[in-house]
Amino acid sequence: MGYVAVKGGTEAVLNAEQLVEYFRVKGESEPISVVQIQEQLRLAVDRAMGEGALYAPELAALALKQSEGDALEASFLLRAYRSTVPRIEYSLPVAGARMRPLRRISATFKDIPEGQLLGPTRDYQLRLLNTLLTHESSASTRAYLAQIEAKITDETKPLVNFPKVIEKMREQGILAEPPEQEKADADADPYDITRKALTFPAPRSARLQVLAQGDVGGMLTFAYSSVRGYGDAHPTLGELRVGHVPVEVAHPVTGEAVEIGEILVTECEMVSRVQSADADESHAQRVARGPEQPKFGLGYGFCFGHSEVKAMSMAIIDRVLSAAKEHGVHGEGGPTANEEFVLLHIDGIEASGFTAHFKLPHYVTFQADISVLERTRAFHAEKFAAVREQGQAKTARTEPEEKGAEHV
Protein backbone atom coordinates (compact mmCIF):
# COMPACT_ATOMS: atom_id res chain seq x y z
CA MET A 1 0.00 0.00 0.00
CA GLY A 2 2.89 2.34 0.73
CA TYR A 3 1.84 5.97 0.99
CA VAL A 4 -1.42 5.67 -0.92
CA ALA A 5 -3.24 7.04 2.08
CA VAL A 6 -1.65 10.48 2.02
CA LYS A 7 -0.89 10.96 -1.67
CA GLY A 8 -3.06 11.69 -4.66
CA GLY A 9 -6.03 13.92 -5.20
CA THR A 10 -3.93 17.00 -5.99
CA GLU A 11 -6.06 17.87 -8.98
CA ALA A 12 -9.26 17.48 -6.99
CA VAL A 13 -7.84 19.73 -4.26
CA LEU A 14 -6.86 22.40 -6.79
CA ASN A 15 -10.30 22.20 -8.39
CA ALA A 16 -11.97 22.53 -4.98
CA GLU A 17 -9.98 25.71 -4.39
CA GLN A 18 -11.16 27.12 -7.68
CA LEU A 19 -14.71 26.06 -7.08
CA VAL A 20 -14.99 27.90 -3.77
CA GLU A 21 -13.92 31.08 -5.58
CA TYR A 22 -16.52 30.37 -8.23
CA PHE A 23 -19.25 30.02 -5.64
CA ARG A 24 -18.27 33.37 -4.15
CA VAL A 25 -18.84 35.25 -7.41
CA LYS A 26 -21.22 33.11 -9.44
CA GLY A 27 -24.24 35.24 -8.58
CA GLU A 28 -22.65 37.97 -10.73
CA SER A 29 -23.80 40.73 -8.39
CA GLU A 30 -21.63 43.82 -8.02
CA PRO A 31 -18.41 42.81 -6.16
CA ILE A 32 -18.53 44.05 -2.57
CA SER A 33 -15.66 46.41 -1.83
CA VAL A 34 -13.37 46.08 1.19
CA VAL A 35 -14.27 49.63 2.25
CA GLN A 36 -17.96 48.70 2.23
CA ILE A 37 -17.28 45.76 4.52
CA GLN A 38 -15.12 47.89 6.78
CA GLU A 39 -17.78 50.58 7.12
CA GLN A 40 -21.06 48.70 6.85
CA LEU A 41 -20.16 45.40 8.53
CA ARG A 42 -18.34 47.18 11.34
CA LEU A 43 -19.13 44.66 14.03
CA ALA A 44 -18.06 41.66 11.95
CA VAL A 45 -14.76 43.46 11.26
CA ASP A 46 -14.34 44.15 14.97
CA ARG A 47 -14.98 40.52 15.86
CA ALA A 48 -12.40 39.32 13.33
CA MET A 49 -9.84 41.78 14.72
CA GLY A 50 -10.54 40.72 18.27
CA GLU A 51 -10.31 36.99 17.65
CA GLY A 52 -7.50 37.33 15.11
CA ALA A 53 -5.69 39.41 17.77
CA LEU A 54 -4.54 41.98 15.27
CA TYR A 55 -5.80 45.55 15.11
CA ALA A 56 -6.06 46.07 11.35
CA PRO A 57 -9.58 47.08 10.22
CA GLU A 58 -8.74 47.10 6.53
CA LEU A 59 -7.14 43.66 6.61
CA ALA A 60 -9.97 42.32 8.76
CA ALA A 61 -12.45 43.54 6.14
CA LEU A 62 -10.39 41.86 3.44
CA ALA A 63 -10.32 38.64 5.48
CA LEU A 64 -14.11 38.75 5.78
CA LYS A 65 -14.46 39.21 2.05
CA GLN A 66 -12.08 36.34 1.36
CA SER A 67 -13.83 34.04 3.83
CA GLU A 68 -17.32 35.01 2.64
CA GLY A 69 -18.20 36.31 6.09
CA ASP A 70 -17.10 33.24 8.06
CA ALA A 71 -16.03 34.82 11.36
CA LEU A 72 -13.70 31.99 12.42
CA GLU A 73 -12.04 31.77 9.03
CA ALA A 74 -11.55 35.54 8.86
CA SER A 75 -9.95 35.66 12.29
CA PHE A 76 -7.78 32.67 11.36
CA LEU A 77 -6.52 34.56 8.28
CA LEU A 78 -5.65 37.56 10.44
CA ARG A 79 -3.95 35.45 13.12
CA ALA A 80 -1.88 33.70 10.44
CA TYR A 81 -0.89 37.04 8.95
CA ARG A 82 0.04 38.36 12.38
CA SER A 83 2.53 35.55 12.85
CA THR A 84 4.51 36.80 9.83
CA VAL A 85 4.77 40.41 10.96
CA PRO A 86 8.02 41.48 12.64
CA ARG A 87 7.66 42.94 16.10
CA ILE A 88 9.11 46.40 16.01
CA GLU A 89 8.14 47.77 19.39
CA TYR A 90 5.90 47.11 22.40
CA SER A 91 3.33 49.71 23.26
CA LEU A 92 3.21 51.30 26.69
CA PRO A 93 0.25 50.27 28.86
CA VAL A 94 -2.96 51.73 27.48
CA ALA A 95 -5.14 53.52 30.03
CA GLY A 96 -8.88 53.14 29.61
CA ALA A 97 -9.42 56.37 31.53
CA ARG A 98 -7.83 58.24 28.62
CA MET A 99 -10.45 56.90 26.22
CA ARG A 100 -12.22 59.26 23.81
CA PRO A 101 -15.56 57.59 24.46
CA LEU A 102 -18.39 56.92 22.02
CA ARG A 103 -20.45 55.17 24.63
CA ARG A 104 -20.19 54.74 28.35
CA ILE A 105 -22.74 53.28 30.73
CA SER A 106 -22.90 51.96 34.25
CA ALA A 107 -25.49 49.75 35.90
CA THR A 108 -24.19 50.32 39.43
CA PHE A 109 -25.05 54.03 39.80
CA LYS A 110 -27.42 56.22 37.83
CA ASP A 111 -25.40 59.34 38.45
CA ILE A 112 -21.80 58.76 37.53
CA PRO A 113 -19.15 61.46 37.00
CA GLU A 114 -19.76 63.06 33.57
CA GLY A 115 -22.96 61.04 33.23
CA GLN A 116 -24.11 58.11 31.16
CA LEU A 117 -23.49 58.30 27.42
CA LEU A 118 -25.59 55.89 25.41
CA GLY A 119 -23.80 56.34 22.09
CA PRO A 120 -24.47 54.02 19.15
CA THR A 121 -26.44 51.05 20.48
CA ARG A 122 -29.26 48.73 19.46
CA ASP A 123 -30.11 48.07 23.11
CA TYR A 124 -33.38 50.00 22.95
CA GLN A 125 -34.60 48.90 19.53
CA LEU A 126 -37.35 46.43 18.85
CA ARG A 127 -36.12 43.32 17.10
CA LEU A 128 -38.14 43.96 13.96
CA LEU A 129 -36.74 43.46 10.50
CA ASN A 130 -36.28 46.81 8.80
CA THR A 131 -37.50 46.10 5.28
CA LEU A 132 -36.64 49.66 4.23
CA LEU A 133 -33.00 48.59 4.17
CA THR A 134 -33.69 46.42 1.13
CA HIS A 135 -34.31 49.61 -0.85
CA GLU A 136 -31.42 51.58 0.60
CA SER A 137 -29.57 53.67 -1.99
CA SER A 138 -26.68 56.15 -2.01
CA ALA A 139 -29.26 58.95 -2.22
CA SER A 140 -31.19 57.74 0.82
CA THR A 141 -28.05 57.34 2.94
CA ARG A 142 -26.86 60.81 1.91
CA ALA A 143 -30.19 62.32 2.92
CA TYR A 144 -29.97 60.55 6.27
CA LEU A 145 -26.42 61.78 6.84
CA ALA A 146 -27.51 65.36 6.08
CA GLN A 147 -30.23 65.04 8.75
CA ILE A 148 -27.70 63.91 11.34
CA GLU A 149 -25.17 66.59 10.37
CA ALA A 150 -27.83 69.25 10.79
CA LYS A 151 -28.11 68.26 14.45
CA ILE A 152 -24.44 68.97 15.09
CA THR A 153 -24.25 72.56 16.22
CA ASP A 154 -21.44 74.69 17.58
CA GLU A 155 -22.91 74.28 21.03
CA THR A 156 -22.48 70.52 20.91
CA LYS A 157 -20.53 69.67 24.01
CA PRO A 158 -17.02 68.43 23.21
CA LEU A 159 -16.21 65.01 24.60
CA VAL A 160 -14.04 64.86 27.65
CA ASN A 161 -12.12 62.03 29.29
CA PHE A 162 -14.51 60.28 31.63
CA PRO A 163 -13.28 59.21 35.06
CA LYS A 164 -13.70 55.52 35.84
CA VAL A 165 -16.75 54.48 37.82
CA ILE A 166 -14.72 51.91 39.73
CA GLU A 167 -12.35 54.65 40.92
CA LYS A 168 -15.29 56.14 42.77
CA MET A 169 -15.98 52.73 44.31
CA ARG A 170 -12.33 52.44 45.28
CA GLU A 171 -12.50 55.82 47.01
CA GLN A 172 -15.53 54.63 48.97
CA GLY A 173 -13.55 51.61 50.10
CA ILE A 174 -16.03 49.07 48.77
CA LEU A 175 -13.73 47.51 46.18
CA ALA A 176 -11.42 44.71 47.30
CA GLU A 177 -7.72 45.05 46.59
CA PRO A 178 -6.35 42.36 44.31
CA PRO A 179 -4.53 39.53 46.11
CA GLU A 180 -0.78 39.91 46.69
CA GLN A 181 0.16 37.34 44.05
CA GLU A 182 -1.82 39.24 41.41
CA LYS A 183 -0.17 42.52 42.39
CA ALA A 184 3.26 40.92 42.06
CA ASP A 185 2.30 39.51 38.64
CA ALA A 186 1.13 42.94 37.52
CA ASP A 187 4.52 44.45 38.32
CA ALA A 188 6.38 41.81 36.31
CA ASP A 189 6.50 41.84 32.50
CA PRO A 190 3.25 40.44 31.13
CA TYR A 191 3.25 36.78 30.13
CA ASP A 192 3.30 36.53 26.33
CA ILE A 193 1.00 33.72 25.21
CA THR A 194 2.24 34.06 21.62
CA ARG A 195 5.77 33.11 22.68
CA LYS A 196 5.28 30.79 25.62
CA ALA A 197 2.98 27.81 25.96
CA LEU A 198 0.33 28.29 28.61
CA THR A 199 1.05 26.59 31.93
CA PHE A 200 -1.21 26.40 34.96
CA PRO A 201 -1.85 28.11 37.28
CA ALA A 202 -1.62 30.93 34.73
CA PRO A 203 -0.86 34.52 35.76
CA ARG A 204 -3.72 36.96 35.27
CA SER A 205 -1.92 38.64 32.36
CA ALA A 206 -1.96 35.32 30.47
CA ARG A 207 -5.61 34.77 31.34
CA LEU A 208 -6.61 38.21 30.08
CA GLN A 209 -4.67 37.71 26.84
CA VAL A 210 -6.34 34.39 26.14
CA LEU A 211 -9.75 35.86 26.87
CA ALA A 212 -9.13 39.01 24.80
CA GLN A 213 -8.57 36.85 21.71
CA GLY A 214 -11.15 34.23 22.66
CA ASP A 215 -14.14 33.20 20.62
CA VAL A 216 -17.09 35.35 21.60
CA GLY A 217 -19.55 32.44 21.37
CA GLY A 218 -17.51 30.24 23.67
CA MET A 219 -16.94 33.06 26.13
CA LEU A 220 -20.60 33.93 26.22
CA THR A 221 -21.43 30.31 26.99
CA PHE A 222 -19.00 30.12 29.90
CA ALA A 223 -20.03 33.50 31.32
CA TYR A 224 -23.74 32.75 30.93
CA SER A 225 -23.43 29.34 32.57
CA SER A 226 -21.77 30.85 35.62
CA VAL A 227 -24.42 33.53 36.13
CA ARG A 228 -27.38 31.31 35.32
CA GLY A 229 -26.69 28.52 37.74
CA TYR A 230 -23.50 26.56 37.12
CA GLY A 231 -21.53 28.90 39.32
CA ASP A 232 -21.95 31.57 41.89
CA ALA A 233 -21.33 34.80 40.00
CA HIS A 234 -23.69 37.68 40.66
CA PRO A 235 -22.10 40.41 38.59
CA THR A 236 -23.20 44.00 38.17
CA LEU A 237 -21.95 46.10 35.33
CA GLY A 238 -19.62 48.63 36.94
CA GLU A 239 -18.87 50.30 33.68
CA LEU A 240 -18.90 49.54 29.98
CA ARG A 241 -17.20 51.93 27.62
CA VAL A 242 -16.53 51.94 23.90
CA GLY A 243 -14.21 54.45 22.30
CA HIS A 244 -10.77 55.31 21.04
CA VAL A 245 -7.72 54.97 23.25
CA PRO A 246 -4.33 56.45 22.35
CA VAL A 247 -1.49 53.97 21.82
CA GLU A 248 1.98 55.09 22.82
CA VAL A 249 5.47 53.68 22.53
CA ALA A 250 8.66 54.78 24.26
CA HIS A 251 10.85 56.78 21.91
CA PRO A 252 13.87 54.56 21.10
CA VAL A 253 16.34 57.36 21.86
CA THR A 254 14.75 59.68 24.41
CA GLY A 255 12.51 57.11 26.09
CA GLU A 256 9.61 59.56 26.14
CA ALA A 257 6.09 58.35 25.38
CA VAL A 258 5.16 59.01 21.76
CA GLU A 259 1.60 58.58 20.53
CA ILE A 260 1.53 56.47 17.38
CA GLY A 261 -2.23 56.35 16.84
CA GLU A 262 -5.44 55.28 18.47
CA ILE A 263 -7.52 52.13 18.44
CA LEU A 264 -11.23 51.52 18.94
CA VAL A 265 -11.79 49.27 21.93
CA THR A 266 -14.47 48.07 24.31
CA GLU A 267 -13.64 48.00 27.99
CA CYS A 268 -15.74 46.61 30.79
CA GLU A 269 -15.57 46.32 34.56
CA MET A 270 -17.87 43.90 36.33
CA VAL A 271 -18.18 43.93 40.09
CA SER A 272 -19.51 41.20 42.29
CA ARG A 273 -19.56 40.54 45.98
CA VAL A 274 -16.44 38.95 47.37
CA GLN A 275 -16.98 36.23 49.93
CA SER A 276 -15.01 37.68 52.78
CA ALA A 277 -14.81 34.48 54.76
CA ASP A 278 -14.51 30.94 53.62
CA ALA A 279 -17.50 28.85 54.64
CA ASP A 280 -15.13 26.20 55.96
CA GLU A 281 -13.13 28.71 57.98
CA SER A 282 -13.22 28.13 61.69
CA HIS A 283 -14.13 30.87 64.13
CA ALA A 284 -10.53 31.00 65.38
CA GLN A 285 -9.21 31.46 61.86
CA ARG A 286 -11.68 34.23 61.25
CA VAL A 287 -10.67 36.00 64.42
CA ALA A 288 -6.99 35.57 63.58
CA ARG A 289 -7.55 37.15 60.19
CA GLY A 290 -8.85 40.26 61.87
CA PRO A 291 -11.85 42.40 61.06
CA GLU A 292 -12.30 42.44 57.30
CA GLN A 293 -15.14 44.27 55.64
CA PRO A 294 -17.07 42.49 52.89
CA LYS A 295 -16.21 44.13 49.60
CA PHE A 296 -16.78 43.90 45.87
CA GLY A 297 -14.34 42.14 43.57
CA LEU A 298 -13.48 43.30 40.10
CA GLY A 299 -13.57 41.48 36.76
CA TYR A 300 -12.00 43.11 33.76
CA GLY A 301 -12.81 42.84 30.06
CA PHE A 302 -11.11 44.45 27.10
CA CYS A 303 -11.24 43.77 23.39
CA PHE A 304 -10.53 45.37 20.04
CA GLY A 305 -13.39 47.15 18.32
CA HIS A 306 -16.98 47.43 19.45
CA SER A 307 -17.94 44.13 21.05
CA GLU A 308 -19.96 44.54 24.20
CA VAL A 309 -21.02 40.92 24.71
CA LYS A 310 -17.41 39.84 24.47
CA ALA A 311 -16.03 42.44 26.88
CA MET A 312 -18.80 41.69 29.40
CA SER A 313 -18.33 37.92 29.11
CA MET A 314 -14.61 38.37 29.56
CA ALA A 315 -15.12 40.47 32.68
CA ILE A 316 -17.46 37.87 34.19
CA ILE A 317 -15.06 35.01 33.45
CA ASP A 318 -12.17 37.02 34.85
CA ARG A 319 -14.07 37.65 38.08
CA VAL A 320 -15.11 34.00 38.43
CA LEU A 321 -11.55 32.80 37.87
CA SER A 322 -10.09 35.36 40.27
CA ALA A 323 -12.57 34.32 42.96
CA ALA A 324 -11.79 30.64 42.37
CA LYS A 325 -8.08 31.33 42.68
CA GLU A 326 -8.43 33.41 45.82
CA HIS A 327 -10.37 30.68 47.57
CA GLY A 328 -8.40 27.81 46.04
CA VAL A 329 -11.54 26.17 44.66
CA HIS A 330 -10.83 25.40 41.02
CA GLY A 331 -13.86 24.09 39.20
CA GLU A 332 -15.98 23.63 42.31
CA GLY A 333 -18.13 26.60 41.38
CA GLY A 334 -19.09 25.24 37.95
CA PRO A 335 -17.01 24.73 34.81
CA THR A 336 -16.23 28.45 34.44
CA ALA A 337 -14.35 28.40 37.73
CA ASN A 338 -11.87 25.89 36.25
CA GLU A 339 -9.08 28.01 34.81
CA GLU A 340 -7.50 25.26 32.75
CA PHE A 341 -10.81 24.14 31.29
CA VAL A 342 -11.80 27.67 30.28
CA LEU A 343 -8.49 28.93 28.95
CA LEU A 344 -7.67 25.85 26.92
CA HIS A 345 -11.01 25.75 25.12
CA ILE A 346 -11.87 29.39 24.59
CA ASP A 347 -9.75 30.06 21.51
CA GLY A 348 -11.96 29.82 18.43
CA ILE A 349 -9.09 29.32 16.04
CA GLU A 350 -7.57 26.46 18.00
CA ALA A 351 -10.94 24.86 18.62
CA SER A 352 -12.17 25.14 15.04
CA GLY A 353 -8.79 24.05 13.70
CA PHE A 354 -8.79 20.93 15.81
CA THR A 355 -12.37 20.14 14.90
CA ALA A 356 -11.73 20.78 11.20
CA HIS A 357 -8.72 18.47 11.17
CA PHE A 358 -11.10 15.53 11.50
CA LYS A 359 -11.94 16.19 7.85
CA LEU A 360 -8.40 15.24 6.85
CA PRO A 361 -7.77 11.65 5.80
CA HIS A 362 -7.53 9.41 8.84
CA TYR A 363 -7.48 6.26 6.70
CA VAL A 364 -4.46 4.73 8.40
CA THR A 365 -5.61 5.67 11.91
CA PHE A 366 -9.01 4.25 11.20
CA GLN A 367 -7.55 1.02 9.77
CA ALA A 368 -5.69 0.68 13.05
CA ASP A 369 -8.96 1.32 14.92
CA ILE A 370 -10.68 -1.39 12.89
CA SER A 371 -7.96 -3.92 13.56
CA VAL A 372 -8.11 -3.12 17.28
CA LEU A 373 -11.89 -3.51 17.14
CA GLU A 374 -11.55 -6.88 15.39
CA ARG A 375 -9.01 -8.10 17.90
CA THR A 376 -11.27 -6.97 20.74
CA ARG A 377 -14.23 -8.79 19.18
CA ALA A 378 -12.20 -11.96 18.71
CA PHE A 379 -10.99 -11.71 22.30
CA HIS A 380 -14.52 -11.23 23.63
CA ALA A 381 -15.88 -14.04 21.45
CA GLU A 382 -13.18 -16.37 22.73
CA LYS A 383 -13.80 -15.34 26.31
CA PHE A 384 -17.55 -15.70 25.93
CA ALA A 385 -17.15 -19.14 24.35
CA ALA A 386 -14.90 -20.22 27.21
CA VAL A 387 -17.31 -18.91 29.82
CA ARG A 388 -20.25 -20.62 28.11
CA GLU A 389 -18.36 -23.88 27.91
CA GLN A 390 -17.47 -23.65 31.57
CA GLY A 391 -21.02 -22.74 32.43
CA GLN A 392 -22.42 -25.73 30.52
CA ALA A 393 -19.96 -28.07 32.13
CA LYS A 394 -20.84 -26.68 35.56
CA THR A 395 -24.58 -26.97 34.92
CA ALA A 396 -24.09 -30.57 33.81
CA ARG A 397 -22.15 -31.32 36.98
CA THR A 398 -24.31 -29.43 39.50
CA GLU A 399 -27.79 -30.30 38.21
CA PRO A 400 -28.00 -33.81 39.75
CA GLU A 401 -26.56 -32.53 43.02
CA GLU A 402 -29.20 -29.81 43.23
CA LYS A 403 -31.88 -32.33 42.56
CA GLY A 404 -30.35 -34.53 45.20
CA ALA A 405 -30.31 -31.64 47.64
CA GLU A 406 -34.01 -31.11 47.15
CA HIS A 407 -34.68 -34.54 48.38
CA VAL A 408 -32.81 -33.99 51.60
Binding site: T84, P86, R87, I88, E89, Y90, R195
Partner: protein, 224 residues
Protein backbone atom coordinates in the same frame (compact mmCIF):
# COMPACT_ATOMS: atom_id res chain seq x y z
CA UNK B 1 0.91 51.06 -11.50
CA UNK B 2 3.33 53.04 -9.38
CA UNK B 3 6.83 51.63 -8.79
CA UNK B 4 7.13 50.11 -5.31
CA UNK B 5 8.39 52.38 -2.56
CA UNK B 6 11.58 51.53 -0.71
CA UNK B 7 9.51 50.23 2.19
CA UNK B 8 7.41 48.02 -0.09
CA UNK B 9 10.56 46.71 -1.73
CA UNK B 10 12.00 45.75 1.66
CA UNK B 11 8.79 43.96 2.62
CA UNK B 12 8.76 42.09 -0.69
CA UNK B 13 12.43 41.17 -0.29
CA UNK B 14 12.01 39.81 3.22
CA UNK B 15 8.88 37.86 2.25
CA UNK B 16 10.62 36.20 -0.70
CA UNK B 17 13.77 35.54 1.32
CA UNK B 18 11.79 34.06 4.22
CA UNK B 19 10.15 31.66 1.76
CA UNK B 20 13.57 30.64 0.38
CA UNK B 21 14.94 30.06 3.87
CA UNK B 22 11.93 27.95 4.79
CA UNK B 23 12.31 25.92 1.62
CA UNK B 24 16.01 25.40 2.30
CA UNK B 25 15.28 23.82 5.68
CA UNK B 26 12.44 21.72 4.26
CA UNK B 27 14.70 20.33 1.53
CA UNK B 28 18.16 20.04 3.03
CA UNK B 29 20.95 20.28 0.47
CA UNK B 30 18.78 21.88 -2.19
CA UNK B 31 20.62 24.92 -3.54
CA UNK B 32 18.39 27.99 -3.49
CA UNK B 33 19.48 31.31 -4.92
CA UNK B 34 18.69 34.28 -2.68
CA UNK B 35 17.88 37.68 -4.10
CA UNK B 36 20.35 40.54 -3.71
CA UNK B 37 19.18 42.53 -0.68
CA UNK B 38 17.91 46.09 -1.25
CA UNK B 39 20.68 47.56 0.92
CA UNK B 40 23.62 46.25 -1.14
CA UNK B 41 24.99 49.76 -1.69
CA UNK B 42 25.57 50.41 2.01
CA UNK B 43 27.18 47.14 3.01
CA UNK B 44 28.93 47.01 6.39
CA UNK B 45 32.40 45.54 6.73
CA UNK B 46 34.34 43.36 9.14
CA UNK B 47 38.06 42.88 9.71
CA UNK B 48 39.79 39.66 8.81
CA UNK B 49 43.04 38.29 10.12
CA UNK B 50 43.97 37.26 6.59
CA UNK B 51 43.42 40.54 4.75
CA UNK B 52 44.82 44.00 5.34
CA UNK B 53 41.68 45.89 4.24
CA UNK B 54 38.21 45.49 5.82
CA UNK B 55 36.07 42.92 4.05
CA UNK B 56 32.43 43.56 3.15
CA UNK B 57 30.09 41.14 4.91
CA UNK B 58 28.32 38.64 2.65
CA UNK B 59 25.25 40.73 1.75
CA UNK B 60 23.08 37.75 0.93
CA UNK B 61 23.81 36.24 4.30
CA UNK B 62 23.20 39.52 6.07
CA UNK B 63 19.92 39.95 4.17
CA UNK B 64 18.85 36.46 5.25
CA UNK B 65 19.75 37.23 8.87
CA UNK B 66 17.89 40.55 8.84
CA UNK B 67 14.83 38.77 7.42
CA UNK B 68 14.62 36.68 10.58
CA UNK B 69 15.46 39.35 13.17
CA UNK B 70 13.02 41.49 15.11
CA UNK B 71 12.65 42.82 18.62
CA UNK B 72 11.75 39.39 20.00
CA UNK B 73 15.07 37.70 19.22
CA UNK B 74 18.79 38.10 19.88
CA UNK B 75 21.86 37.51 17.75
CA UNK B 76 25.62 37.11 17.93
CA UNK B 77 28.23 37.50 15.20
CA UNK B 78 31.70 36.05 14.91
CA UNK B 79 34.60 36.71 12.56
CA UNK B 80 37.98 35.00 12.63
CA UNK B 81 36.69 32.64 15.30
CA UNK B 82 35.96 35.41 17.82
CA UNK B 83 32.58 36.80 18.89
CA UNK B 84 32.19 40.46 17.99
CA UNK B 85 31.66 42.99 20.76
CA UNK B 86 28.23 44.64 21.05
CA UNK B 87 29.89 47.98 20.27
CA UNK B 88 31.33 46.71 16.99
CA UNK B 89 30.19 48.75 13.98
CA UNK B 90 28.67 45.68 12.32
CA UNK B 91 26.66 44.78 15.43
CA UNK B 92 25.33 48.31 15.74
CA UNK B 93 24.50 48.36 12.05
CA UNK B 94 22.26 45.32 12.54
CA UNK B 95 20.71 46.48 15.83
CA UNK B 96 19.70 49.79 14.21
CA UNK B 97 18.04 48.07 11.27
CA UNK B 98 16.35 45.16 13.03
CA UNK B 99 15.60 46.24 16.60
CA UNK B 100 16.96 42.84 17.69
CA UNK B 101 19.05 42.60 20.83
CA UNK B 102 22.67 41.49 21.09
CA UNK B 103 22.64 38.16 22.91
CA UNK B 104 25.18 36.01 24.62
CA UNK B 105 26.44 32.96 22.69
CA UNK B 106 24.72 30.66 25.19
CA UNK B 107 21.30 32.26 24.70
CA UNK B 108 21.28 33.82 21.22
CA UNK B 109 18.49 32.94 18.79
CA UNK B 110 20.69 33.54 15.75
CA UNK B 111 24.43 33.30 15.15
CA UNK B 112 26.24 34.62 12.10
CA UNK B 113 29.74 33.59 11.08
CA UNK B 114 31.23 36.13 8.67
CA UNK B 115 33.53 33.41 7.37
CA UNK B 116 33.43 29.64 7.05
CA UNK B 117 35.21 29.14 10.32
CA UNK B 118 33.60 29.24 13.75
CA UNK B 119 36.63 27.63 15.45
CA UNK B 120 34.23 25.75 17.67
CA UNK B 121 32.11 28.77 18.64
CA UNK B 122 29.15 26.93 17.09
CA UNK B 123 29.17 24.46 19.96
CA UNK B 124 28.54 27.27 22.47
CA UNK B 125 25.11 28.04 20.98
CA UNK B 126 21.89 26.89 22.66
CA UNK B 127 20.48 23.58 21.42
CA UNK B 128 17.08 23.90 23.13
CA UNK B 129 15.69 21.74 25.89
CA UNK B 130 13.79 18.47 25.61
CA UNK B 131 10.59 20.27 26.58
CA UNK B 132 11.28 23.25 24.31
CA UNK B 133 13.64 22.19 21.51
CA UNK B 134 12.64 25.31 19.57
CA UNK B 135 14.70 27.39 21.99
CA UNK B 136 17.78 26.43 19.99
CA UNK B 137 19.87 28.72 17.81
CA UNK B 138 20.02 28.99 14.04
CA UNK B 139 23.50 29.60 12.62
CA UNK B 140 24.61 31.14 9.31
CA UNK B 141 27.96 30.40 7.73
CA UNK B 142 29.22 32.66 4.95
CA UNK B 143 31.18 30.43 2.58
CA UNK B 144 32.85 31.09 -0.77
CA UNK B 145 31.00 28.79 -3.08
CA UNK B 146 28.26 26.14 -3.04
CA UNK B 147 27.43 23.75 -5.88
CA UNK B 148 25.76 20.40 -6.41
CA UNK B 149 28.31 17.59 -6.38
CA UNK B 150 28.60 15.04 -9.14
CA UNK B 151 31.24 12.41 -8.59
CA UNK B 152 34.16 12.53 -6.20
CA UNK B 153 36.43 15.55 -5.69
CA UNK B 154 39.67 15.64 -7.67
CA UNK B 155 42.94 16.08 -5.82
CA UNK B 156 43.20 19.58 -7.23
CA UNK B 157 39.79 20.54 -5.91
CA UNK B 158 40.66 19.02 -2.57
CA UNK B 159 43.83 21.11 -2.35
CA UNK B 160 41.77 24.18 -3.31
CA UNK B 161 39.77 23.66 -0.14
CA UNK B 162 36.60 22.13 -1.57
CA UNK B 163 34.62 19.82 0.67
CA UNK B 164 32.08 17.30 -0.48
CA UNK B 165 29.15 16.71 1.88
CA UNK B 166 26.85 13.73 1.58
CA UNK B 167 23.52 14.48 3.19
CA UNK B 168 20.83 12.10 4.40
CA UNK B 169 17.74 12.55 6.54
CA UNK B 170 14.16 13.88 6.39
CA UNK B 171 13.45 15.91 3.26
CA UNK B 172 16.13 14.11 1.22
CA UNK B 173 15.31 11.24 -1.07
CA UNK B 174 18.14 8.70 -0.53
CA UNK B 175 21.20 10.97 -0.38
CA UNK B 176 22.12 14.37 -1.71
CA UNK B 177 25.66 15.60 -2.28
CA UNK B 178 26.92 19.18 -2.37
CA UNK B 179 30.36 20.76 -2.67
CA UNK B 180 31.43 23.70 -0.57
CA UNK B 181 34.46 25.98 -0.86
CA UNK B 182 35.48 28.23 1.98
CA UNK B 183 34.27 26.09 4.89
CA UNK B 184 36.85 24.84 7.36
CA UNK B 185 36.89 21.04 7.53
CA UNK B 186 36.63 21.04 11.33
CA UNK B 187 33.27 22.81 11.11
CA UNK B 188 31.65 19.56 9.98
CA UNK B 189 32.77 18.02 13.25
CA UNK B 190 31.38 20.99 15.20
CA UNK B 191 28.06 20.81 13.35
CA UNK B 192 27.79 17.08 14.00
CA UNK B 193 28.61 17.65 17.65
CA UNK B 194 25.67 20.05 18.05
CA UNK B 195 23.16 17.55 16.66
CA UNK B 196 23.88 14.45 18.67
CA UNK B 197 20.79 14.46 20.84
CA UNK B 198 17.77 14.98 18.59
CA UNK B 199 15.42 16.87 19.03
CA UNK B 200 18.11 19.15 20.43
CA UNK B 201 20.50 20.79 18.00
CA UNK B 202 21.45 23.85 15.99
CA UNK B 203 20.00 24.44 12.52
CA UNK B 204 22.57 25.65 10.02
CA UNK B 205 22.51 27.67 6.82
CA UNK B 206 25.42 27.99 4.38
CA UNK B 207 25.31 31.01 2.11
CA UNK B 208 27.93 31.65 -0.57
CA UNK B 209 29.26 34.83 -2.14
CA UNK B 210 26.76 34.78 -5.01
CA UNK B 211 23.71 34.16 -2.84
CA UNK B 212 23.40 30.40 -3.16
CA UNK B 213 21.96 28.99 0.03
CA UNK B 214 21.72 25.55 1.57
CA UNK B 215 19.88 24.57 4.73
CA UNK B 216 21.25 21.86 7.02
CA UNK B 217 18.59 21.40 9.72
CA UNK B 218 19.47 19.38 12.82
CA UNK B 219 17.78 16.32 11.31
CA UNK B 220 20.30 16.11 8.47
CA UNK B 221 23.19 13.70 8.83
CA UNK B 222 26.36 14.99 7.18
CA UNK B 223 29.10 12.75 5.82
CA UNK B 224 32.17 14.45 4.41
Amino acid sequence: MQPPTEQEERIRYSTVTFRHLLDSLARPGKITTLEPPPFLQEMPVYFSLHEAAPIPVNGYGLGALLTLLDKEVTFVIAANGVWLNAQDALMRWIVTRSGAGVGTPESATFAFFCDGESSGLLTQLPRGTLVEPELSATAFYCVESLVDAFGPLTNEERSDGWLKLELTGPGIEDTHAIRIAGLAHEELQHIRQTRQGYPLGVDVYMIDASGRCVGLPRTTAIKG
